[in-house]
Symmetry: C2
Subunit: 336 residues, 2 copies
């Protein structure tokens, strides 16, 4: 049996039980965007991500600078998902002999971008050689005022489901990267740019830390179809997403025009949006959105609702009130 | 220019300055065994290590269980070097399609060994596929009572240099692994076993946290020849190692008998001993060793002395008082 037969989550299920029992009080282990290590005034939140050449990125497409920038961004997005403030990061690199020092210099310049923007210094790491692909591992530590971190397990019946920005651009950009025969017009180049340049929603996440009406939260890395399932499974609820409410960017609408089902598919299954996905007490949504809009100059997008408490944890899709069959599941590296 | 031209430390020097300026008070970044993140009653210490198939290990030689065990052990050794108590770990795996789930199950069983022994739960991670070698990245977080962590930069003129156990076995074992034509007698098998099964000196490190007479400390990963240089450079001192004082195991002495220079070479340059290397106020060595022996049932090995404060940071070797020319430097992945 190989990993592809059981998938990433199937593998984790084989050992998860051994490593989640008897944790100290307040500690959260495997199963959310971040682990939580309780301290005194703060809880520390920790995440790690590994990026492998030709699995997660194509070196000649992304280039050193954007690769360095994105490597840190995708981890900061997990910190944002827990409502965390970044503290510091750790970077490991396995470098093939074909990679130039100049490329690595560009990588480190890109890596520095978010260390400066969000005051998240690089505190350590490891550099080694690789006899195969370039492999990057980043670990980020953040902190949240005691007890204020957000998890996937707190969604409640009646909550509105919200996202912080347009969905699907990154997935559409990836399609252009994976199909070099497609014509790369200006829309395509912009979608590819968005795939390579995610923006971690750190200030938005920190704002939600102080808002108890925000119940469950995570970041969108595999597409809301797959990611919502984590919230449903952890919270033991079912939900409904109204496709016509999904926020779609101007560039996507320019490119795909009337092909709404194509845009919905990117938005639901595309992955790597790195927007925040949150559930909000519906009676407080107006107040929250008012304060959020005042602070960030943009709206929260309400895309659906937690409809019931349920052990079945189903995700329903509708378009203008009509049920829609599944658009396909999110991206699982081993099952896809 | 490729990485091999400048080495791992040459690469780090290119960006280190950018990432070590303006750190918050009490925070320690790149340059020691661990980063230090100050908190309230505790300082958190954090380390990360990447292990790449056919660079750091040969999969069919080490097997899944020992590989999992060693992956965590080498990181715990860095926590021990800072006098830390383990808090939790994070594991990333890039898995080629040739690796079976059964191998990964064994890996996770081995990984669990030190999580249980030192109460260091696996709190999170990432699993992805690799189109090349198996790549493992581990991050460990530990903690030390406020201000009690040890660094490489605190060695003082007159300090005794000490180690916690025999040196060179792991390097000798590696030589058998790299030269399959060598006869693997019982000694060889034991040396290989020691290379695959390092024991992180967690209890010893935590004991030293409470002893102010222990000045500088680090763990021995590249061989004392290379590792002492870090202490010398960071502390701005020079040192002398007396080769005849190096602790050599029975199995090594059985195998190499009268070949003392061969044993010294393994002990100084072999690497991966994962014993602790520390400098101790010489006037307090007797008391420290008495308490240490009572607690651990073994002695500290005194192997040399910090001889002067110096910007030159030289390491001198002697045998029975006679100067010895360098046995060669420690292991640098890109320069070796």
């Amino acid at each position: 049996m190989i990993l592809k037969d059981i998938g990433e989550f199937g593998f984790i299920d084989r050992f998860k039980g051994n490593f989640t029992k008897n944790l100290p009080a307040g500690m959260q282990g495997i199963g959310d965007d971040c682990a939580v290590i309780p301290s005194e005034s703060y809880d520390y939140v920790v995440t790690t991500d590994m990026l492998v050449e030709d699995v997660h990125f194509i070196t000649k497409e992304i280039g050193g600078y954007q690769l360095g920038k994105k490597s840190l961004a995708v981890n900061l997005s997990d910190i944002a998902a827990e409502a965390g403030e970044p503290v510091g990061s750790f970077l490991s690199l396995a470098v093939p002999s074909t990679v130039s020092v100049e490329f690595l210099d560009e990588f480190m310049k890109g890596y520095a971008y978010f260390t400066e923007k969000y005051n998240c210094p690089l505190l350590g790491g490891d550099t080694t050689k690789s006899l195969g692909p370039l492999v990057i591992n980043v670990t980020v530590i953040g902190r949240v005022p005691k007890g204020k971190f957000k998890t996937r397990s707190s969604a409640q019946k009646g909550d509105f489901i919200c996202v912080t920005g347009p969905l699907g651009d990154s997935g559409a950009g990836l399609d252009f990267l994976l199909n070099p025969s497609l014509n790369r017009n200006d829309n395509a180049l912009e979608l590819i740019h968005r795939h390579h340049n995610p923006e971690p929603r750190i200030p938005e996440g920190m704002f939600f830390a102080s808002r108890p009406e925000v119940h469950a939260m995570m970041d969108i890395s595999d597409g809301i179809g797959s990611d919502m399932k984590h919230i449903l499974d952890e919270s033991k609820v079912s939900a409904l997403i109204e496709l016509e409410r999904l926020p779609l960017s101007d560039v996507m609408q320019n490119e795909y025009g009337e092909q709404r089902s194509k845009m919905y598919k990117y938005a639901v299954t595309g992955g790597e949006d790195y927007e925040l996905l949150l559930t909000v007490d519906s009676s407080m949504f107006g107040t929250l959105n008012f304060d959020y809009s005042n602070k960030f100059g943009k709206e929260l997008f309400r895309i659906g609702k937690i409809i019931e408490t349920s052990e079945n944890c189903k995700l329903f899709l509708t378009e203008n009130g009509w049920p829609v069959n599944s658009l396909g599941s999110g991206f699982d590296h081993f099952m896809a």
